[in-house]
């Protein structure tokens, strides 16, 4: 593998819980609890998990929109978590984010053109004329056409707004984009349009994506690699195809089996998980998945399994499960 564009090392983001007479900190919500991975230029890492698993927090912590509690985020080998705010602002040219809610992610009082030009203005890129040209170009690229730049977001549909969001993220030619559930709020027909657009842009511009979604099918469609998160931790990480073909972690298996398939012919056996996802404020001891795991045994309740490589040499698949056999030495 080449030098990674992005390397995340043991990243943690904890939110304090206050309580008692003097509102002291009585606990921590461990939204992200020791996550490590790398991302190569131009590749897409799909981050999948159910609500509350910390996947969105992870995306924001990587971008330093929420300062991580501990751990490192190395972009081009530079630790973002250690930067001062002005330094960080300068680095933001290289990393961007696309949001989930197409209605909330654009300022309703600013035109589309202003929204897309804003990053250029902030980072003082080009002359006014060049900026205008770039805005037109970007609108063209996302399929809206330059004519719309004087319009306001409320005149656009959800899919169109998501395109505007993409154009804004692309304005600075970032090397890395976090896409936080970018299509979850869209209808199927629009979703596919937006997915195709982002795939095309990624190919054309060689952007690395961290694609966050709860929808395994979408993740599988867009990702080179997939990371499955559960309760703030990555439980399985590896090439997308391999994970979907042959999930190793019991949670991944359950997740995969739960995805409804629009094909009445294909009836699969469901793995139904007992119980509910525990609160991240009170994670169970040992393996966070053990209360619902069909394979759980004594050690699962005591020791937290680490993410480690497993057998078969399938492109560096890693699983955090005691029950998955280790690759032979």
């Amino acid at each position: 593998m080449t030098t990674p564009l992005l390397e995340v090392r043991d990243l943690r983001k904890h939110f304090p819980i206050r309580g008692g007479l003097f509102r002291r900190i009585v606990g921590q919500v461990k939204a992200v609890d020791g996550v490590s991975f790398t991302l190569a230029p131009g590749r897409t890492l799909g981050l999948v998990g159910e609500s509350g698993c910390g996947k969105s927090t992870l995306g924001r912590a990587i971008l330093q929109l929420q300062r991580p509690t501990s751990g490192q985020v190395l972009l081009h080998g530079e630790d973002l978590a250690a930067l001062t705010p002005p330094e960080l602002r300068a680095r933001r040219r290289q990393m961007q984010i696309i949001f989930q809610d197409p209605y909330a992610s654009l300022n309703p009082r600013r035109t589309v053109g202003q929204a897309i030009r804003e990053p250029l203005d902030v980072h003082r890129i080009g002359t006014a004329r060049e900026r205008a040209k770039r805005v037109a170009e970007l609108l063209d690229v996302v399929g809206l056409g330059p004519a719309v730049q004087d319009r306001y977001p409320h005149e656009f549909s959800g899919g169109q707004r998501q395109r505007i969001g993409i154009a804004r993220a692309l304005a600075l030619n970032p090397a890395f984009i976090v896409a936080d559930e970018p299509v979850s709020a869209l209808d199927v027909s629009v979703q596919s349009q937006v997915l195709n657009l982002s795939a095309r842009l990624q190919r054309e511009h060689g952007i690395a994506f961290l694609f966050v979604s709860h929808d395994l099918a979408v993740i599988q469609h867009v990702s080179d690699d997939i990371a499955v998160m559960y309760l703030g931790r990555i439980v399985e990480l590896g090439p997308g195809g391999a994970i979907c073909r042959e999930p190793r972690h019991p949670y991944t298996q359950a997740l995969l089996s739960a995805v409804p398939v629009p094909d009445p012919q294909q009836r699969r056996a469901r793995i139904l998980l007992p119980g509910e996802i525990p609160s991240p404020a009170r994670p169970p001891p040992g393996c966070p998945f053990h209360p619902r795991c069909p394979l759980a045994e004594a050690r699962c309740r005591e020791t937290v399994p680490v993410l480690r490589s497993v057998a078969e040499g399938d492109g560096g698949r890693q699983v955090a499960c005691h029950r998955v056999p280790t690759r032979p030495a």
Binding site: S51, R200, H214, H221, G241, P262, Q265
Partner: protein
């Protein structure tokens, strides 16, 4: 069971529902007709704004009036015309004969009353049970929908339950009076995938056990494929295609159905470079094109499509399609 043996349990004919907006009335549902037999499960699918939820609500006459208005058609349930039924009789019917499960279990339950209170309320009203009896029944219901520690849950408030449990409570409430028809409006959309699978399994099981008919309103083709025997596809307030699920998914006849099916990403063996898409966007209900509503986005469009609105016509294989040029 009331009604002639042959008569369907539910029969919707030319249903039209309008909403008043600042730009004048908008027809959210325009000439929808379908039947439902006892014990049958039908999926009502379509993208947002296609009128599926309004259709679902209209089956209990729950469309808010104003701004909504029933502009025409009929809804016959068990031999009675719902659109002409006095409010008092409707109330007796709601929850007892026709029950509904909503999309957002968090907001659909009254946050200031306990689960038990809300459940017994329905039981006492429709089944005339006493306080104690109702509580026993409520407990049984919760156990039936597999809520762990049901006795404790009875005294808890909705916000103390997880999303999946809340939806189970909703289902328990809906089933409490043994309705003949269950309208489930996106019952699993707000849930996580693993929970969705469980809840769907629960619904399927109970529906089979109780033998009630069910209309499942959803945007998720996968959910329909796994749950329903028959599917109705809506687009822009009209039904474009209806057929047995197996047939519909195996051989969609309407170009919209086909496009929809193709554009859903699925977990495949190999990644596709690009998803097939339906180009363009859903037209604005306030300025519908003449002719077929799908014409602007349709690869098979012809002059006729732009001039003449296709009617829902039977096709070989049992279904119906509203298209001048159906897929072979």
């Amino acid at each position: 069971m009331a009604g002639v043996a042959d008569e369907p349990l539910l029969s919707v004919r030319d249903l039209a529902i309008e909403f008043d907006t600042l730009d004048g009335p908008v027809r959210a549902v325009d000439g929808v007709s379908f039947d439902l037999r006892c014990g049958e499960t039908v999926g009502l699918v379509g993208e947002s704004g296609c009128g599926k939820t309004v259709t679902g609500l209209s089956l209990l006459r729950l469309v808010p009036e104003p701004p909504g208005r029933y502009a025409g058609g009929s809804i016959r349930f068990g031999g009675r015309e719902l659109l002409a039924l006095p409010e008092a009789e409707l109330r007796a019917l709601r929850g007892r004969d026709v029950a509904m499960v909503f999309q957002e279990p968090m907001t659909a339950l009254n946050p200031v009353f306990t689960i038990g209170s809300q459940l017994t309320e329905v039981l006492r009203r429709h089944r005339g049970l006493g306080r104690r009896e109702a509580r026993v029944q409520a407990l049984a219901l919760l156990e039936r929908v597999h809520i762990p520690e049901a006795a404790r849950r009875l005294d808890e408030y909705p916000h103390q339950l997880s999303g999946g449990q809340r939806q189970r409570v909703m289902i328990a409430m809906a089933l409490s009076c043994g309705p003949r028809l269950l309208v489930a409006d996106e019952p699993t959309t707000a849930l996580d995938v693993t929970t969705q699978a469980e809840v769907l399994a629960e619904i399927r099981r109970l529906q089979g056990e109780l033998g009630m008919a069910m209309i499942l309103v959803t945007h998720d083709l996968g959910v329909v494929a796994e749950t329903c025997a028959r599917a109705i596809v809506m687009y822009c307030g009209v039904i474009v295609e209806t057929n047995a699920t197996a047939a519909l998914f195996a051989q969609p006849r309407h170009p919209y159905t086909l496009g929809l099916l193709q554009s859903v990403p699925r977990v495949r063996e190999t990644r596709l470079a690009e998803l097939p898409v339906i180009p363009g966007r859903v037209p604005d209900l306030r300025s519908l094109p003449p002719g077929c509503r799908f014409a602007d986005r349709c690869p098979r469009v012809s002059e006729r499509c732009r001039a003449e609105e296709p009617a829902l016509t039977p096709i070989a294989g049992g279904g119906q399609v509203a298209c001048h040029h159906p897929q072979p």
